[in-house]
Structures are given as C-alpha cells and as structure tokens.
C-alpha cells in the first residue's frame, strides 16, 4: 500500500520533472494575442505632439449608449444640421482641431450627461476619470471597411427605384452646387477623401451622414432598411453573412461589354477584353478602376502621366505585384491553392509564348475608326484520353530506389483532380488553351499532344548546377514535395510515398 503510494509519488515527481524539461527544451516564442476590440467600440484618445497620452484612451461602447438612449435619438450626442437632422460627424472632426478644446468638449459632453442623469436619478455612466480612462493593453479594433459590392449596390438601386441621384451627386462647376449628373456617376471616394474642411466632408463623415440618416428615415417610415449601428456595416462577420443576390443585372454606367484594350502609340497587338465577364469576377469597379471610372489609357500612357502617378501603360497592365494590374490579378488567381501546384514552379517573367494569350488582336500604329467587335471564343476542355500506355493509371518510380523502396504514383488520380479544377474555371480553360497544357505542369518542356519523355532523359545523375538542372532524385522530390506543399497535401514525409526498403530493386521503368 505504502510502497504503492511511493511509486505514484515517484511517478508524479518524474512526470513533473519531465514536463519541466520539455518546457525548458521547447523554443519559447512570444504568443501575446492582441486584445480584440469589437467594431462597435470607438477608441477615443488623441495623442499629443510627442505621441503621449496623459491617461489611457477611452474605449467608448457605442452600442451600449445607443441601447441605453434609444428613446432619445442620435441628436442627443451627435450634432444636427439646419433641419434638425443628426449629422454623424466624429466629434473630433468638429470646428476645432486643438487637442485641449476637443478634450474639454468630450469631457463636457460625456460627464455633463452622466451627471445630469445621475441627478435625475436615472441609470447613468461614470463621471470619475479612472472609470472611463482604464489602463489596459492596447487592443486591436476589428473594424473592416464597409464593403459596398455589386450585389449590395443593386439592392440600393432597387430600393431607390432606379433613381441614382438618391446617393450619387457631383459639384456643378457653374452654380457650384451639388446635383446629379446622369451617366457620370463616380464612387464617393472620387471627391470625399481623408480631409474634412467644413464644406467637403471626409469620406467617413460623408458616408456616415448619407447612409445612416437615410436608414434612419426609412426606419421611421417603417420601411425595411439597412443598419444604423457600427457593426451593421463594419463587422466582418455581419458583412460575410450579408445576403448576396445570386442573380442581378450589371451596374449600368454605359460601360462596354467587350472592348479592345488599346493605348495610342503602342505597337503591340491589341487585347480583346471581356468587360462584362470581369464584372462577374470582381466585387467593385474600384478593383480595376481606382477612384473614377476613366479608361486606363487616359492616365496610364506609354510614358506615364502625373494623373497616373507616372505609372506607364506597360506597368499598369503587366506589373506582377500590383493588385489592380491584369497580370497581378491573374497571378493572384493562379496562386489559389488548387492552382498553385503547377503555378508555383513557373518562373518569372513568364515565357514570351504566353503574351499571345491576351495580345491576340490585330496590330495598328493608329487605331482605325471601325473595328470589329473583339471575338472571345469560349474554350471547352477536351476529354481525357482513356487510361492506357499513353495515359497510365499508376506509375511505379523505382529507377533510383536504394535505401527507400519504389514509390507508386497515382497518376490517374492526380490528372483527374487537376482536370476537374481546370474544366470548372472559364479562365483556366481559356489560358490553358486546352487540358493539354495541364500535363506540362509536371512534364515541362513537352510539346502538347506528344508522349512525355522519361524524366531521366534530361535529369541525369547529379544534374547540372550550371543550368540549375536538378538530378533525377532532386527532380522527383522537388516536383512532388513542392507541389504537395503548395497544394497543402499532407504527404510530404519520406514514408508517405515510399517505405524504407529491406532489399532494394532498381528495375528500369519509364516514369
């Protein structure tokens, strides 16, 4: 009995010791997770010139106040315009921008209200400094920009009974007043920026004012309408869960369906561009057009213009690391997990042969008056051949089997997987020309339609460092593991593909 107790004690002791050792052994890395502040909380705190706060910033729970004072209406805290409508300016962007004035204003507003309520004997908030200015680790406000995608836009179009003027307006140069110009709608950010001078509001104030007041009106009119609180537009979860229309007409702002991409003076072949198709592939116009909806070539000329921040036409279309350039966007698409297996091993820049996939139009020094509508043929993926000598179902790789046994490669399974991915994507079909190109993902440098040569015919022995040509063993492992890593296939360890061999056979079988 006692001995038994002893044993357990000893065991526990050892266990704890072991645990300690392991703890000591493990590399410790700082795992301080940042405190998340909900989107409905507004952090109030203006840094002084030397970036110092006298007291920690106040985390103002907007939702709580809305709930508590729901009866009173927003005007209680927010300024109201001439016709007593609340304008949802951030108080900080009010008349003054002197730090102390703003601070006083807040203190007056908050504490004043809290004290009044207290006197009334109603439930109230704190009026002592420390209970609003709470010392706590700086948090990360999870507030994502309100995303006004095509679907949401159409819902507004419907709600506004096709009257675009409800939201869109522009400044009349003559009368210098705001009115609606048909067919010249722009995104808000075209005029409304960061700055807010009493007259032209900042994007934030403008949109808050426009959206929320409209939603409030509808609310009063008991019409189904959009959110009036912060999280309604700025909480990522809410945004994702928002109902997305599956079918809705295109945003109509007299844009073309199909268009020739042409830049005056460019000697390259023209690019037939399917604008309509790309609308379905993007979420906002601003994915490609930045603020206004001009033609690319207006700002991005051959040599670049100031309006285009000196980005040339060539860069605008081809810059690989730009989000809004053709190549950049396509590259991003090709980086998706299901594509990356092949695309990860494509060198930069891509081979010239790829240019023709886009530059398939005619070539003119001067753009002719009349051009035929660009024809963009729908490419259908051809069927896979039946399994056989030319399309083996299984390939046993044992050419170099030594301490590890042969590895049987599920060729058919892999190919069918890729085939499915490609044939489901219009772009993939278009750019892989046909499924034939798919094979070159692994059997690179093999002309389409011909039976691939065995890997070892190029990847001989130790390979050739001069040409950066890996040897056979290296080629196999890089191709397989590289692809598995890119496509997040868990089979990346030695034993996953071939077992440790007891007796190595090295029978030549063409892979």
């Amino acid at each position: 009995m006692i001995t038994g107790k002893r044993h357990t004690e000893c065991f526990l002791l050892c266990l704890s010791g072991l645990a300690f050792l392991m703890a000591a052994g493990c590399e410790y890395e700082p795992v301080e997770k940042e405190r998340q502040v909900p989107s409905s909380t507004i952090v109030l705190g203006i840094e002084s010139a030397d970036g110092e706060h006298q007291r920690p910033a106040v985390e103002f729970d907007h939702a709580l106040h809305v709930k508590a004072r729901s009866g009173e209406g927003c005007g209680e805290c927010h300024d109201t315009d001439d016709d007593k409508k609340p304008v949802f300016n951030l108080v900080t962007s009010a008349a003054t921008d002197d730090r102390d004035d703003i601070m006083d204003m807040y203190h007056a507003q908050c504490i004043g209200c809290h004290q009044e309520l207290e006197e009334e004997g109603a439930e109230s908030g704190p009026s002592e400094c420390g209970r609003c200015h709470i010392e706590q680790p700086g948090g990360l406000v999870v507030r994502s920009p309100a995303s006004f995608d095509y679907s949401l836009h159409y819902r507004h179009v419907k709600a506004a009974k096709e009257d675009c003027g409800t939201c869109h307006h522009d400044k009349d140069e003559k009368t210098s007043e705001l009115r609606y110009f048909k067919g010249q709608e722009k995104s808000c950010s075209y005029c409304h920026g960061e700055e807010d001078d009493g007259k032209k509001l900042s994007l934030q104030n403008a949109s808050h004012r426009a959206c929320i007041s409209c939603h409030l009106d509808n609310k009063e009119k008991k019409i189904e309408t959009g959110p009036v609180n912060c999280e309604g537009c700025h909480d990522i979860a809410k945004i994702m869960s928002r109902e997305k229309l599956s079918e809705f007409p295109r945003v109509s702002r007299n844009q073309p369906d199909k268009v020739w991409l042409y830049v005056p003076g460019a000697m390259s072949k023209m690019v037939p561009f399917n604008h309509e198709l790309h609308e379905t592939l993007t979420e906002f116009c601003s994915d490609c057009h930045h603020r206004d909806l001009k033609k690319c070539s207006e700002c991005h000329t051959l040599t670049g213009k100031e309006d285009g921040q000196w980005i040339t036409m060539n860069e605008a279309f081809h810059k690989a690391d730009a989000s809004s350039s053709c190549v950049g966007c396509h590259k991003k698409a090709a980086g998706r997990r299901e594509c990356s297996g092949c695309h990860v091993s494509l060198p930069e820049p891509p081979s010239e042969s790829l240019c023709m996939y886009c530059h398939s139009g005619p070539q003119f020094a001067e753009k002719p008056q009349t051009m035929p509508m660009p024809a963009l043929p729908e490419v259908n993926s051809e069927a896979l051949p039946d399994a056989g000598v030319d399309f083996p179902e299984k390939v046993i790789i044992d050419v170099i089997a030594k301490e590890y046994g042969p590895s049987d490669l599920p060729h058919g399974k892999i190919v069918r997987g890729l085939y499915k991915t490609i044939s489901e994507s219009r772009a993939a079909r278009r750019f892989h020309g046909s499924t034939g190109l798919m094979c070159t993902g692994c059997h690179h440098n093999t002309p389409h339609g011909t039976r691939p040569a065995p890997c070892r015919s190029c990847h001989a022995g130790q390979g050739d460092p001069e040409k950066d040509m890996p040897g056979l063993k290296h080629a196999y492992h890089r191709q397989c593991i590289g692809c598995h890593q890119a496509m997040q296939n868990k089979a990346q360890g030695c034993e996953d593909c071939h077992k440790k061999a007891s007796k190595a056979s090295s029978k030549e079988v063409s892979p």
């Binding site: 052994g25 590399e27 930069e348 950066d468 290296h474 890089r478 990346q492």
Partner: protein, 351 residues
C-alpha cells in the same frame, strides 16, 4: 610527428614564400580569396527537414549514427547545435502552418573566406585551403579554444571529455572527398537538391539567377556572399536571415581585420616606449641633478661669505695695531729730543 618539419615562425616563412605578391599587397588592396575555390549553396526554400544530410555526414565522417531516425520531426522541438559528434545539424526556424510549409536550415562550419578561427589561433592551427575548406591541424593545437569562442556562427565544437588529446571538431567540407573528386556527403544525400556543391563563383551566379526567376519565393540576398568577407557556404532563404539564426545586415569587413586592428599598435609601443621612457627617466634624473647643484652652490656661497668677514676683521685689527705703534715711536722720539736739549744747555752753564 609533423612538428619536426615546422620551425619557429613557420607561418611567416610560409607567407614569406608568397612575398612576391606582397609588394602590391598594400593597405588599400582588396583580397578576393582563392579563384576557383569550391563552395556549397543551401537553398532553404527547398529544404524539407528530412535530415538525410545529418545521417550522411555522420556516415562519411565515421561518427556514431543519428540518435533520432531521419524523417522524425519531433527532434525539431529543441534547437540543436553542432557538437563533437555532429558536424552538422538541421533546425526548424518556422513551424508549418495551414498554408505555408515549415522552414529549416542546415547549420555547420561556414568555411569563411577570411576565417575568424584562423586569425585568432596563436599556433596557426587553421588554414584556408585553395579548394575552399578551412582545415584544422590537431598536431599543433594547444587547446585554448579561442577559435571556438570567437566563431561568429557557433560552428566549432570541442572534445571536453578527452583529457589527453582533445581536438576542435567541425565540418571539414569533406576535404578528402573533394580531393577525390567526390561531392561532400551532405550534398549527395539531399533528396531535393537543396544543397548544391560547385565552384563558389558559379553558385553565386546560380543563386542570383534563382532570385531573378522566382522573385516572390526568395529574399533578394545571398547570405555568405559578402558577410564578414564571405563564406564558402552560401544560403538562400524565403524569409529574413535574422529569423534563420544568421546575422541580418552583417558587415562585409572580415573579422580578422577587426580582430587584428589593434595589433598594429603593438609595434608602435615597442619602438616608441624605450626612447620615450628613457627620456622621462633622464628628465627626472636631470631635475634631481639640478636640485643637487643648487644645494651645493648655496652651501659654497654661505661658506665664502663667512670667510670674507673674518678676513676683514683681521685686516682692521692689524691696521689698528700699526697706528698704536707709530704713535708710540713718535712719542719716544720727541722724548729723546727734549732730553738731548736739556743735556746741551746743562753743558753751557759749566763753562
């Protein structure tokens, strides 16, 4: 024993043989290392952490086989370093995530172009061979371990448990195999060709070429091309080298240059001190001598003064004596004259 062949200042003798070039080898001269020396390129973006290199290294160097079987990833829970039983180790520097694979780096002696270990060794036990490897000679090693302490890559290990013939141990870049025309064990074993052996210059080209072709796979830097004067082992990476246990933004100045910078003051001190100090010594001596002279002079003067006075006293005394005498004589003469007169008058009266 090799020692018999060596003589004192063997090092200088060896260098002296190369003295032909030294006329040009002035301070401004840049040294580019041995042309056509070999190196290895470790592409960490291709390394899958299988540790085949570790196993192969132990095999070709007749070391005990790896304790944890190849492919077992548990070993990466603890960071390891090279020891007297493991000339190379692979460590995991970033854990695998859902979307990104883990990042590994193989560590071993970097075989510097300007080896720090060699420059700090006071018996010159290390030599940079024209082939690239830095070789160590246990026959002269005294065991001070300054090399182990100075190596910026923590690549050297020491046989602490050997009381009689402890050695510094480290990767030899498989010098014997290279001499035989073979590749280093690790590069042969690597399944993905993440370790490439070749002429260092070619490998740098190769690395740059890879960076150019896959700009978003690599950090645009080849570690070991210039760091501390460059190393034979070159490293490519997809993440900052600082996070791979290497020195981010290390200087290009070879450590030997920094380490020996002060030694150029030594000859100055040796040549200046004797003159300077003897000067000071002479100075103090002179001060003492002067002080002595002053003293003597003072004594002499006082003596002289005293003696003057006595002389004067004597002289006066003499003078006074003479006067008295004269007076006495005159009186005597007068007296005599008067008496004679009297006598004469007396004579006339008798007649």
């Amino acid at each position: 024993m090799k020692i018999s062949r060596r003589g004192f200042l063997h090092g200088m003798a060896a260098a002296g043989a190369l003295a032909t070039g030294t006329a040009k080898a002035a301070g401004h001269r840049k040294f580019d290392g041995y042309p056509g020396s070999f190196g290895l390129l470790h592409d960490t973006t291709l390394c899958v952490g299988c540790r085949s290199c570790e196993a192969a290294c132990r095999e070709v160097n007749n070391l005990p086989p790896v304790e944890v079987p190849v492919g077992d990833k548990d070993i990466f829970r603890k960071k390891r370093r090279t020891t007297e039983k493991a000339y190379t180790v692979v460590n995991e520097y970033r854990k695998a995530t859902e979307t990104t694979p883990a990042v590994y780096r193989k560590h071993q002696c970097m075989h510097c172009n300007e080896p720090c270990c060699a420059s700090v060794c006071f018996v010159k036990a290390f030599t940079k061979t024209p082939e690239g490897p830095v070789l160590y000679d246990p026959d002269v090693c005294v065991g001070c371990r300054y090399c182990v302490m100075a190596c910026p890559y923590y690549a050297l290990a020491y046989e602490y448990d050997d009381p009689v013939t402890p050695r510094v141990v480290r990767c030899t870049m498989c010098y014997p195999r290279i001499k035989k025309g073979l590749n280093p064990g690790c590069s042969d074993a690597c399944p993905t060709g993440a370790i490439v052996f070749g002429k260092r210059k070619d490998l740098i080209k190769l690395a740059r070429d890879r960076i150019a072709r896959f700009p978003d796979r690599y950090v645009d830097h080849v570690f070991g091309e210039h760091e501390f004067g460059g190393t034979s082992w070159l490293t490519l990476a997809g993440m900052p080298f600082g996070q791979l246990g290497l020195h981010d933004g290390a200087t290009h100045t070879p450590i030997p240059e920094m380490a020996t910078s002060y030694l150029s003051v030594v000859p100055l001190i040796v040549t200046i001190y004797p003159g300077l100090l003897l000067g000071m010594y002479a100075f103090t001596k002179r001060k003492e001598a002067l002080a002595l002279k002053e003293k003597n002079k003072a004594v002499a003067d006082t003596l002289a003064k005293a003696d003057e006075e006595t002389k004067k006293k004597l002289a006066d005394a003499a003078a006074r004596a003479a006067k008295d005498k004269e007076r006495a004589v005159n009186q005597a003469v007068k007296k005599a004259g008067a008496e004679a007169k009297k006598a004469a008058e007396k004579k006339e009266d008798e007649k």
